[in-house]
Symmetry: C2
Subunit: 353 residues, 2 copies
Amino acid sequence: MKKNILIIPGDGIGQEVTEWGKQVLEVIASKFGHEFAFDNAIMGHTAIEATGNPLPDETLAKAKASDAILFGAIGHAKYDNDPSAKVRPEQGLLKIRKELGLYANLRPILLFDELLDASSLKPEILRGTDILFFRELTGDVYFGEKLRNADNTFASDLMNYHRYEVERIARKAFEAAQTRGKRLCSVDKANVLETSRLWREVVQGLAAEYPDVETEHMFIDNAAMQLVKNPKKFDVVLTANLFGDILTDEASQIAGSMGMLASASIGDGTGFFEPIHGSAHDIAGQDKANPLASILSAALMLDIAFGLQEEAKAVTDAVDQALKAGWRTSDIAVNDTPTDRILGTVAMGQKVI
Amino acid sequence: MKKNILIIPGDGIGQEVTEWGKQVLEVIASKFGHEFAFDNAIMGHTAIEATGNPLPDETLAKAKASDAILFGAIGHAKYDNDPSAKVRPEQGLLKIRKELGLYANLRPILLFDELLDASSLKPEILRGTDILFFRELTGDVYFGEKLRNADNTFASDLMNYHRYEVERIARKAFEAAQTRGKRLCSVDKANVLETSRLWREVVQGLAAEYPDVETEHMFIDNAAMQLVKNPKKFDVVLTANLFGDILTDEASQIAGSMGMLASASIGDGTGFFEPIHGSAHDIAGQDKANPLASILSAALMLDIAFGLQEEAKAVTDAVDQALKAGWRTSDIAVNDTPTDRILGTVAMGQKVI
Ligand SMILES: CC(C)[C@H](C(=O)O)[C@@H](O)C(=O)O
Ligand SMILES: CC(C)[C@H](C(=O)O)[C@@H](O)C(=O)O
């Protein structure tokens, strides 16, 4: 198989971890006889520094022309603490999601047995958890009109959804549920929000077309609670953009660390694969970041973008073996992890390779 | 002290649990020589059934005239599953919050040592946790304009904040932080939302006036994660309405159960005290609900509305003693709780009395 893959390391630890997702793809290509051609592009803070634009035209053109994209992370504290900054790294990420039509963000909560102890949740609460989030990614309050009045005393963001936006992601979630545990939980705040009432109507309407899937509706506040109380009760979770952002970060604690979670953004064209963690500038450049989320993002690319299930499994198995052998990065180490088993980014990447 | 207290049991288990908050107030009155006069009013589904209106004028008039309100819970599945319902129980709650100017919702995450095991989080993660949430309660996407287009293909809700709305709750949070751990964490999504950027600007501006308080800003997705990972790191948490709704429900798992958490809503006039749990119609009328959140809401009333700290402490001590004696309602029981220690609503209420 011949594929063009675009690597966008982005900001902070994105630079370090994406290197390992890429190297894993190279090993897979040579082992399984594929031809993966790689190109590089910039985005986020890195791109602002170089060009003034968080998503340069060249990056967008390369992205559209590629078969799949491996992305690192975005963001920089400099902008976070300056609410009046007009140009921000995150604009690059939001724009590329919109431009590539990446309306469905899949976030599997994959639990490696070896990491049961790394979580703040009790092992008996965690064991057996297997959740697949479908987060809507190109609508909601993220993309609605933003206003600030002239005398700076008022600000607003429009939360909004079109019926077709809810329908297309809901269908993907129902279809996924059919191939898994056959349960779908749609999360909203229909007791308060009109947007959520439209959301619920659409999902209720579609449920009839998927009679083999057990459909449930849950308020976001309750879902945030149930996810900690009893994560096993969830199979496929369907959410709007903002609620999905919150719930999936919360759910990262189920997997022991944010450093373990990969995501796939898909939609109209080229798929986009990235860890759910951020740029973590506090540890950037120090060989401390966990490369496993980037490596698992590469596995998702093989599986979802290229349909290479066997190759994807080879990657997750390699991660599993590294963990079974006792290797840990510091984010997934526990009190009694022997210090000689705690690795930096490079060493952990090499173990998986 | 002479006070007029309005009791609004509301819907579902609200009816059962509020009775015990009230009885505890009666006992306190007779023990400490106060005169508490009680009146009753209806709200929510109960009020819709009786009058067609989730917040009848009579209830609102009584509320405004009272010195404090003890509320139960609101909501009914009937409306949740009918996204097109025009009249809904929750409208009553939102309207009374607005009409009474209850802009600050205080939600203390109080951890009883005896319940460390009832949580899904590991005891060593929990021990020492003491968080006070300040959730803004009369603004945000809850109260912004709601639209549905004529052909039902589009819906929106306006998320919005005025500077003064952020300032008045932020001041309350800073002041509370000064009397506690002197740390304030303000939660927003300033990397995406204009409303959050205004929020952050205001909080940054005020921070200079409270130099003894260490102020931190955190994105909501990160906060939802940190709350599970390391709840001890929080002291006072300041949030907008929607984010606070989500985070405080999530945080209920720290206290072992939603059935343990009380809240105080304060602002321009009469204070409003209520459990953070919902109407739980699935267990309503079965003597299963935990009355402790209502009883602890009564304690918050004594403390915050009437300044009766000693009386408030007598109530929380009584709850503590009931727990120390091993008494549990089913929501806070664990696997090895002896069945003869598991009580219903009435029996648990009596133990505290
Ligand atoms: C960086 C930020 C804009 C982004 C989001 O909120 O979508 C991130 O948190 C994520 O979840 O991918
Ligand atoms: C019932 C609902 C409208 C309410 C809210 O979202 O504010 C509830 O969840 C709460 O937290 O008090």
